[in-house]
Amino acid sequence: MEEFLKQFFDVGFMADHFGEVLDGFWITTQLAVLSGVLALIWGLILATLRQLPGKTFLPVRFLTIAYIDVFRGIPLLMLILLIAGGIPALEFLPESLRLPQWFGKPDNFWFGVLAITITYGAYMAEVYRAGIESVPPGQMEAARSLGMGHGQAMRSVILPQAVRKVIAPLLNDFVALTKDTTLVSFIALNEVTLVASDIQSETFNSSALTLGALMFLAVTLPLARLVDKLIAREQSRFTRGAPRVEAL
């Protein structure tokens, strides 16, 4: 038992390596927040493209659906390896794209952001779609009958209602995304997983990894509670008060 505790929960060891692990987790946080925001925006763009009306936009809808299906079906790790190994080898690209060093971040950080955004944009597009499709068709008709164009009606009428309904599932995806940033350790980005596992292989003590896991919990547990709260609030909107029934 003592050996078990020393291997995984050595508090003194954790204290000694706290700074290094926290530095790694700071990179993890930056990676998660930046990719998360970009995926939220990219997903919304994809969902909007998917809803464009009429025959004219059939090719756009088709391409969007193909994109979403493909990138939800590919493992994120493979995409990370494809991008990190492939893009630097594309000689026709300028160096600033092949080996991006923007804002003082190394190229593998940006490759991670790109891969996560591509994958989670596809996931989030599906969440947005569920939200858009849950808005009754009469809303679009009312907006169009008042003279708004499709885009205007989307912006002012449909999306505000749709997004409100899917904030909880979007946050869920964000929690999953945060955990999946650990995959970027495979391309040698010194985020928390890589830092902690390096410590593990040097010292044969796993407590640094446990510390990293605890740091994740410090972020993901409050988020999970927040999701529960949001879901409860959304549901109560539809169960409280009788006039609601008539309105639907």
Partner: protein, 259 residues
């Protein structure tokens, strides 16, 4: 554009056809509506009444036939004849207002915001001007004390009156009413019909799809009876409602008036 100036044509339909897949919903409808006229459209469910209204503002563009609005053909466009799209969408939507059976108010906006949104986004009015206009219209439909309420806090009758104000805010030349009292509790019907009576008295051109025979008798200049996607009979309410010529009209009125 008063009721007296009844000579000008507001809407003119020639052989309008609408299909949903194989289902023929409208089979060659001809109809003239003059400026300031109130036309009530009666008929059994599935007779094509609602679809007719939705053709008129191009929510469901017709596949065949033509519609003239204030003398201009509105059915021409890139998908002409396919029910796709019209070049005249803006022309139509700026002149034709519609009120729906299910109100379709924007639930994330207050009553006043429902009325101001399209004024600002479509007509480009300033926020102040739109609010002023919105206040005036909501007062006109008897809701000056509900400006900042959200739709879910309003009764069905109140919601429907907001919807009427919202449509009027765009200064339409014609108003379409699609069974606007059918989703209401009986005691709320009158407040909506009263607003429509006032509108009619002010000379608004109106096409009203309704099951309210009493309203049609009292307010309509003309009653149109539809069945199976066509117009069976039309004329002054005194004639059509009191002594219908067609068997189908008689049968329908018999069933409705029996209630």
């Amino acid at each position: 554009m008063t009721a007296l100036d009844g000579s000008g044509s507001m809407l003119s339909l020639r052989g309008v056809c609408k299909r949903f897949g194989k289902l023929e919903v409208l089979r060659g409808v001809d109809l003239e509506v003059r400026k300031g006229e109130v036309v009530c459209v009666l008929g059994p469910s599935g007779s094509g009444k609602s679809t007719l209204l939705r053709c008129l503002n191009l929510l469901e563009p017709p596949e065949e036939g033509d519609i003239h609005l204030e003398g201009r053909s509105i059915c021409r466009g890139p998908g002409s004849g396919s029910g796709e799209q019209s070049w005249e969408l803006d022309f139509v939507r700026q002149r034709v207002g519609i009120v729906f059976q299910q109100f379709n108010l924007f639930p994330h906006k207050t009553a006043l915001e429902n009325v101001t949104l399209a004024q600002e986004k479509v007509l480009g009015r300033s926020a102040a001007e739109a609010r002023e206009n919105g206040r005036r219209l909501l007062e006109r439909v008897g809701l000056s004390d509900k400006l900042d309420e959200y739709p879910e806090r309003l009764s069905g009758g109140q919601q429907q009156r907001v919807a009427i104000a919202r449509a009027l805010a765009m200064d339409p030349h014609v108003m379409l009413f699609d069974e606007v009292t059918s989703a209401l509790d009986p005691e709320l019907v009158k407040e909506v019909l009263d607003v429509m009576r006032e509108l009619a008295a002010e000379g608004m051109t109106m096409i009203v799809v309704t099951h309210e025979i009493g309203f049609a008798r009292e307010v309509a200049d003309r009653v149109v009876f539809m069945d199976e996607g066509g117009i069976v009979e039309e004329g002054p309410p005194a004639d059509v409602l009191a002594s219908p010529r067609e068997e189908r009209t008689k049968k329908f009125l018999g069933l409705v008036l029996e209630r």
